[in-house]
Symmetry: C2
Subunit: 343 residues, 2 copies
Amino acid sequence: MAAEPAPTRRARRGSGAVTLHDVARLAGVAPITASRALNTPAQVSDEVRQKVADAVARTGYVPNRLAGGLASARSRLVAAVVPTISGPVFLETVQSLTEALAERGYQLMLGQSGYAGSREDALLEAIIGRRPDGIVLTGILHSTEGRRRLLACGIPVVETWDLTPTPIDMLVGFSHVEVGRAVAAYLHGKGRRRLGVVAGDDERARRRAGAFAAAARALGLPDATVVHVPAPTTLKGGREGLAELLRTAPGTDAVFCSSDLLALGVLTEARVRGLQVPAQLAVVGFGDLEFAADVEPALTTVHIKGAAIGRQAAQFIVERAEGREVAERVIDIGFAIVERQSG
Amino acid sequence: MAAEPAPTRRARRGSGAVTLHDVARLAGVAPITASRALNTPAQVSDEVRQKVADAVARTGYVPNRLAGGLASARSRLVAAVVPTISGPVFLETVQSLTEALAERGYQLMLGQSGYAGSREDALLEAIIGRRPDGIVLTGILHSTEGRRRLLACGIPVVETWDLTPTPIDMLVGFSHVEVGRAVAAYLHGKGRRRLGVVAGDDERARRRAGAFAAAARALGLPDATVVHVPAPTTLKGGREGLAELLRTAPGTDAVFCSSDLLALGVLTEARVRGLQVPAQLAVVGFGDLEFAADVEPALTTVHIKGAAIGRQAAQFIVERAEGREVAERVIDIGFAIVERQSG
DNA sequence: GTGAAAGCGCTAACAC
DNA sequence: GTGTTAGCGCTTTCAC
């Protein structure tokens, strides 16, 4: 046994927690061997594996992932950025993302950019500082400075809920323009003529509304009336939106809402006003949230596979983090109009 | 200029990112001085501060918080655990928590334990491994093993949305028993006699329902009928819950629902059945979600200050992380019955 | 006010 | 299959 080195002048006391060194000492192996027993068990003998497992159990050792991440340049942390978590639209995506990542040993960091994108740059800086293995962006990234930064730092990025012509890196989404067109065509096919839109004041909703109005025009219908309400959308917004829509365009016989919550508000307001849905007014939502099928009348809406988006995003990130290149970087996950009673 | 040391045999290539060393070299100071210029600017001269700021701007340096966290034993990461993010109840709390933390330079990690608590231990291990500066628990912690672990690892813990007799550490919540009692008394005061409950199948909802039923008995009312629906609660659950309730106890004249979503389902089902609300049936929700005031009839419900809970939890954690002891570890944030039209 | 040295807890690279 | 060594990028401790 080597003589102990003379005690150094400095002492840094550590956190006091059990470290891999403690485990290794207890198991009678070198730290790196203990590390391998835990991370790549196939590389060590059965005996070592067992001894290390015992030592872990005895000490209650929990690996320090901060240290591991620093050493290996793999943090096993994934950042998700949403405009706000309290519009229920992205919830399903965040939920499935969290779960899919947790299953593979990754953890989710949540950041809210706000619909205005004011905090976006600060948020990105905070995120990049944590050196996540991936970033999932939901909703548009407003600042070009932000784009530049993401590109520069080389962290895998998945944009979701949209299909941009120039993705930063990877993407899983659908075309909001196609949604707008499809809903216009659908309502036209149902014999509706005087179309209206109640849309949240965010970029993607605007695009759906714009495409909807353009398609209506192309179909030879009168100009659609578009009413905007603040984002995130609310039931109240839907009620007020319909009120305004009927004030502006009294003969409206169909409304496309930019969220199911908005549609629920429209449904509510219509009922209060004695307007028959769908007889006098067709209502179409967006999102197909859990409640859409169970409101009365059941809501016709655009179904988006929010959970599938989350899972696919997780898949993308993990593939990259583990050094594999993904074959197809852009996935159009599509959408579907779900016909129920409201329109 | 010193001669370059002979190249060592090993080369570990780093991540290639700009480091504090690069910034320091550019600014012509020692790394530690650059560190101080960024973290404790009061300790350095104006000149140094300026030179370092320039170097940061020129290089696009983003500090590696993994390394910083490892060295300082302060990760500036806070973990939040919720049963699931896709019951809208905790959303407001998670949102305000995220924001309050971001403002102070902390980042939120999100974990979902599931209502059954099956993944709880694995989740806690994953969380502890990241050495967060605090853990916010929303909803009950099921496993006693988990409690032990949290206690052992010494990370500040805030339990929320409940008032447990033996908090792990800090707590900001309210009494579910009091809620149950208060709603029973409220409905009794409104002249309701045949009380019912539609409650989600989770521990806290059960407690509210139990206290509600006990209070009804104490008030001399007939036994309240309690119907349970799966958690997380849904609009559909509310519809089915009311259907079952009316089957079991046809004369019911008031329903206390364990969430506003459930209440919305009850309202919907009542309307479909031609039951007048509130004339024939009073409906009381729980949560006072954004939509409660705007449904028709407007929902009488129990208001919970979800955002305040999140802010207070952030406050607790940050105080502790910065070495201050909090004066009062347990805060009862209370609740209020908001009377609207439905009951 | 500034700096040199040591080390946080872990893993990559190389050797045997 | 196992061990040695040298860092990952930062901050703490001590010294001037």
